[in-house]
Amino acid sequence: MNDVAPRRLTLTVFRYDPRAPERTPRMQSYEVEEADGMTLYIALNEIRERLDPSLQFDFVCRAGVCGSCAMLINGRPGLACSTLTKALGPEITLAPLPAFELIADLSVDTGKWMRAMSERLETWIHAREGGIDFARIEERMEPAVAEAIYELDRCIECGCCVAACGTALMREDFVGAVGLNKIARFRLDPRDHRSGNDYFDLIGDDDGVFGCMSLLGCHDVCPKNLPLQTQIAFMRRLMAAEGLKPSLKQGDGK
């Protein structure tokens, strides 16, 4: 907290409302005075309260755990709520995440995309037939396994990895690092009784793990620092092995 005059920040923001197409997409600049500890959450709210009530963006938790506020910050996907302005220069450019349906301005519908991915990959525990008996003691899980699951379960579905993915931008049905990470997570879970073959059916093609071009933008931008590079490489080997299995059996001539 020194006495140097605060910086004037210029935020140049993408503006477009698909429901009002008569106004074509444009960039609009706003000036705010930087404050101590200012994040893009604080700066954008200040703009909306003082300068432009029509500006659209999304924040929910404002604590980096819900994933609502992902956007392109100087061209790079990231969470606006946990980006301190002091980490950026005085000229800041903000744009909505690509790959997702635009709601307006900086607001995109990641929910729709995530839900479709989730339903396609069935990202929930597939228990054995007969369901769960609440009166029975739960099966125990090794702490190391629980920790390994938690490591991958930290994903907040913000969409940064999808926005940073070359394949996802070209191939609409690609499940993205978020989807591949989910499958890696459920594969670790002893309560999920899906087999390697079941997982192969879900991600053993070009819309799944074989669509990845290994550019690994996902890994670079993940705000939770998930080990996406390792997980994708591992899943690809696993699925390649899985894919070879039936042909080997056929090769046996049975």
């Binding site: 009530p53 029509s54 404002r62 946990s82 607001s107 519908d109 009166a135």
Partner: protein
Amino acid sequence: MRDLVSGALSACIAKATVIATGGAGRLYRATTNAVICEGIGTVIALETGLAALSNMEAVQFHPTGLFPSGILITEGCRGDGGLLRDVDGHRFMPDYEPEKKDLAARDVVSRRMLEHIRKGNGVKSRFGEHLWLDITLLGREHIEKNLREVQEICRNFLDIDPSKDLIPVYPAAHYTMGGVRTNPTGESPGLAGLFVGGEAACWDIHGFNRLGGNSVAETIVAGMIVGESIAAFCDRPQNDLTVSMGIIRDFLAREDAKISALLTGGGDEDANLLRIRMQEIMTEKVGIFRTADKLATAVDELQALLAKSRNIGVRNKSRGANPELVAAYRTQKMIKLALCVACGALARTESRGAHYRDDFPRRDDAQWLRRTLAIWKNESDTLPTLNYEPLDVMRMELPPGSRGYGTKDDHIVHSDAPRRAAEVEATRKRLVDADRFAVQAALMPYDHLLPPDLRVRNERIDGSN
């Protein structure tokens, strides 16, 4: 409902409606809650004029909100051995709570922190005063493994390293113990078919002070019990609906008129300013320490704000996605909810859990072992109507006694409490050879309140019953 993207209003006709919109931490300036925790679902129930809100004055403040943003720093920090320190680096909690020290109940620690700051021991900053949370003594390895989120929050929001630096903290509104009054199935007694689950409900799981970890218990248990109850409610033919189209049309027209009034009614009040003022009033006068004077002023000021909120105007006239319009109608609703909190707190002349009255520091079971019920009778009212519902001590399994608060707990005893305590003890003696199910059935039967699937006996780790 209003579609936030298109702005379209639509009516959903359903046998059962569930409100699961969480708490209302945003009534206060500093809160651990998300931006959307504005209590809007709770107010939608209140605005029916039929569903009552219960114990809204019970608001919990968490001791370690990150300062100044309020982002939650988990209790696990202190659970693992972290300490609270003042401007001189002194660990002050043992001075106030020699027994439980830094791990006293949340409401106790929050009060002690404010008390300590008032004595001149706070750390001054340009945003106001705060205290320090010190987890440096836990070591980098422990923090990186067990408190990784804390490390992330400190790095992202303050650019500090908690394994080396102290974390600035200040109590922040955290949990709304009050909510829509429900019966054990999660249904509002005042409005059939309205179900409420989680923090939005007052389902009697937390009393006046939620304990750490019990929000998870509530989520899971409410999911199982309330969820099953809703399904059963919908299956019962007597709950089939016959609704007049006229009622639906009138309701939609009324809601549409409210939106129009905000857009084109010529109002000149700024919703943001009203909301900030409401948060200031709530924080300063309906916060951690409460007195009759402050609360009475708060009620007056909030009433004046409510009147102003009926004259809000918005600059952006779009009926579609319009964040300013959303802030406008939500602010109107939030001020109503703030009034329910303030009026309940003013009327309750005792201290109970998180509700602390400087002028009535004792818990008074003789007069106040009863639930506050707030309803909003008419849209034009400027205050909620409060009613009270006594609790039946003679049906309790654990009659109210000392709750082990601080060093002294000299609450005013309810006349039934000793009688019930003796009765419970006699029952336990009489059934000394019976199994725990028989004892439970004799003291406080609850099986009949559960969905049938959940009435079975659970398998136990030790193989016993």
